[in-house]
Amino acid sequence: MKIVVCVKQVPDSAAKVTVENGKVTWGDAPLVINPWDEFAVEAALRQKEALGGTVTAVTIGGEGTKDALKHALAMGADDAILVNDPALGTLDTQAVAQLLAAAIKKIGGVEMVFFGRQAIDGDSGIVPAQTARLLGWPSLTLASVIQAEAGAVRVERSTEEGRQIVKAKLPAVLSVAKDYGEPRYPSFMGIRKAQRAEIPTLALADLGIPAPAAVVTWPEVMNLPARDVKCEIIGGTPEEAANALVDKLIAEKVL
């Protein structure tokens, strides 16, 4: 089974992301693999372990984004591909999906494509569905249990309302929810393999598509309004404290 996992390099979740002069910045905070994508890599590896085959990690971006691919390799992916081209401008989600779909077609014979549920920087969560649409494959998002066999896949989806069981034919695109299970750490052997791996780059000419144009622009980005919070600690016995709290909540018109 040929499996692809799409990953993204994002600012560390501990980074302080702010807007300066209309531009988003995270200072010199390190970039890491999107934490949700680690779940996707885990799911891809478990499918490979269950069914045999290979896992190829794919990302889009400059040299620096190779670190996300290396993380996937260190976790156990077999190989990795970088999609990059000097002609690429700002990408929105559908442009990203066009590039990924082209790369997946180029790899050829892929039966399962895994994504994280969303990227922690853009937070749109729609690239998996858009990629599936462009490929003409079913899109099974927020998967928490995945069983593939005989050209089909059965997925339990974690939705806000509860669990939903869906089935589809392969090939298919899946995005993985957090309750799929903890992603493994990179192994030491994997780390070494990742550092020595030659990661090929696919340019637009290799993909056979023109540079996809973004249809969404970001005319303005703003910092969150500063919050002015006053913290007050209410003392006394639990009963007194509860009474005082209720009085205050009523006075503040919260209750």
């Binding site: 670190d67 993380h71 750490y185 990179p186 030491f188 780390i191 550092q195």
Partner: protein, 402 residues
């Protein structure tokens, strides 16, 4: 001169950090309070390869270098000293000494399962009546055909009750020409008849770790388990301490970092006299010192790691790193408590545990006084490193993958 860590080093650091922060940090307080080891920690460290990080793949290890070993110790001790102590004795004293001095057969029999994390090792030198003065040890082994008969007691041994094997140094010559020639080193299976052991309770620190005693009563040890020659035990023990001290130094560096990070966070949150305490200069002084000491400790251990990679002897450099980092970590933990005020005095925060854990490292693996003597010896030209019969193998990025 290139001071940067390789990407490989950075990934090792992140991997060990993620393990320690995600799996151990949430439960360490509870076990420290109970004075019990966290049951899953050592098996997990074995499974992840941390217990065999710096040994060649053919000996069951992960083929990483000595710098990676230091980085791993820094990350482990930034969460809790007990994990680093396990590295010091399992990797530094026991497995590392087999790798350095063992025969191929001994490596196959003992090093492989240790490096794979399937067996645990400890190093047993200290006795109830002696610690620093190694040649004054009384535990002894007498040759009997192709065996030795071991008698005596070892005390203050980390992982005493958990280890499968002990690397142990005892007296084999009651009338040596030189006291240092009286000793020999063995690898002993701790399930052998005549071995009894237990834990010491009521320790100031490393309370989630095992520290104990091991008693040997007519324990028969195959002569094939002797490491090196008879009479070579002193030299072997000193080389084991070099390795152990390297892990102590890098670990203590992690403790300084943990104290610093806790202090920075708290100092920004806590206000006094109308501003965050981080804006009071006397608090800044403490934080600046922790930051500076962290950098110094780090440079000292990384240099020692690099020297080991190159196959250079670095007893002197490791001594500087060990003494500086352990003393600075105690000071950093103490200052971190001060920054936290009364909250630092409670185990609601981590810094009081840092202080208790930091204290032991100023004593074990060669106390600060002993380090001072070593350093003065080098400075005064009274001490120089003579070539050893075996040198600790240099790191070989290709060979170690095999």
């Amino acid at each position: 001169m290139d001071f940067s860590l390789s990407n490989e080093h950075l990934m090792v650091q992140k991997m060990v950090r993620d393990f320690a922060q995600k799996e151990v940090a949430p439960v360490i307080k509870e076990y420290d309070r109970k004075q019990e080891p966290i049951p899953f920690v050592l098996p997990r460290m074995g499974e992840l390869g941390i217990l065999g990080i710096s040994f060649p793949v053919r000996y069951g290890g992960q083929g990483m270098d000595y710098v990676s070993l230091g980085l791993a110790c820094e990350e482990l001790e930034a969460v809790d000293t007990t994990m680093r102590v396990a590295m010091s004795v399992h990797v530094g004293l026991c497995a590392g000494t087999l790798f350095h001095w063992g025969t191929e057969a001994q490596k196959q029999e003992f090093l492989v399962p240790l490096a794979q994390g399937k067996k645990l090792g400890c190093g047993a030198f200290t006795e109830p009546g002696m610690g620093s003065d190694v040649t004054a040890m009384r535990a002894a082994a007498k040759r009997d055909g192709n065996q030795y008969i071991l008698n005596g007691e070892k005390m203050w041994i980390s992982l005493a009750s958990k280890a499968d094997y002990a690397l142990i140094t005892v007296k084999t010559d009651p009338n040596p020409k030189k006291p240092s020639e009286a000793l020999s080193t063995f690898i002993v299976d701790l399930t052998s008849p005549g071995v009894t052991r237990g834990d010491i309770h009521g320790k100031l620190g490393v309370r989630a770790g095992s520290t104990g005693w091991i008693n040997f009563q007519d324990v028969r040890v195959p002569a094939a388990n002797r490491i090196g020659a008879e009479g070579e035990g002193f030299k072997i023990t000193m080389s084991a301490f070099d390795r152990g001290r390297y892990t102590v130094a890098s670990g203590a560096t992690g403790l300084i970092r943990a104290a610093l990070e806790a202090s920075v966070k708290y100092a920004k949150e806590r206000a006094a006299f109308g501003k965050p305490i981080a804006e009071h200069q006397l608090i800044q002084e403490k934080i600046a010192r922790m930051a500076q000491d962290y950098e110094i400790a780090r440079l000292l251990y990384l240099r020692a790691g690099w020297m080991q990679n190159e196959g250079k002897r670095c007893t002197r450099e490791i001594s500087f790193a060990k003494k500086f980092a352990t003393e600075a970590s105690f000071k950093a933990a103490d200052d971190a408590i001060q920054v936290h005020g009364a909250y630092g005095f409670s185990d609601e925060f981590d810094v009081e545990r840092y202080l208790r854990n930091a204290r032991g490292a100023v004593i074990y693996e060669g106390s600060s006084e002993i380090q001072t003597l070593i350093q003065a010896g080098y400075a005064l030209g009274q001490r120089e490193d003579k070539p050893l019969r075996c040198e600790q193998p240099a790191y070989d990025a290709e060979e170690w993958q095999k």
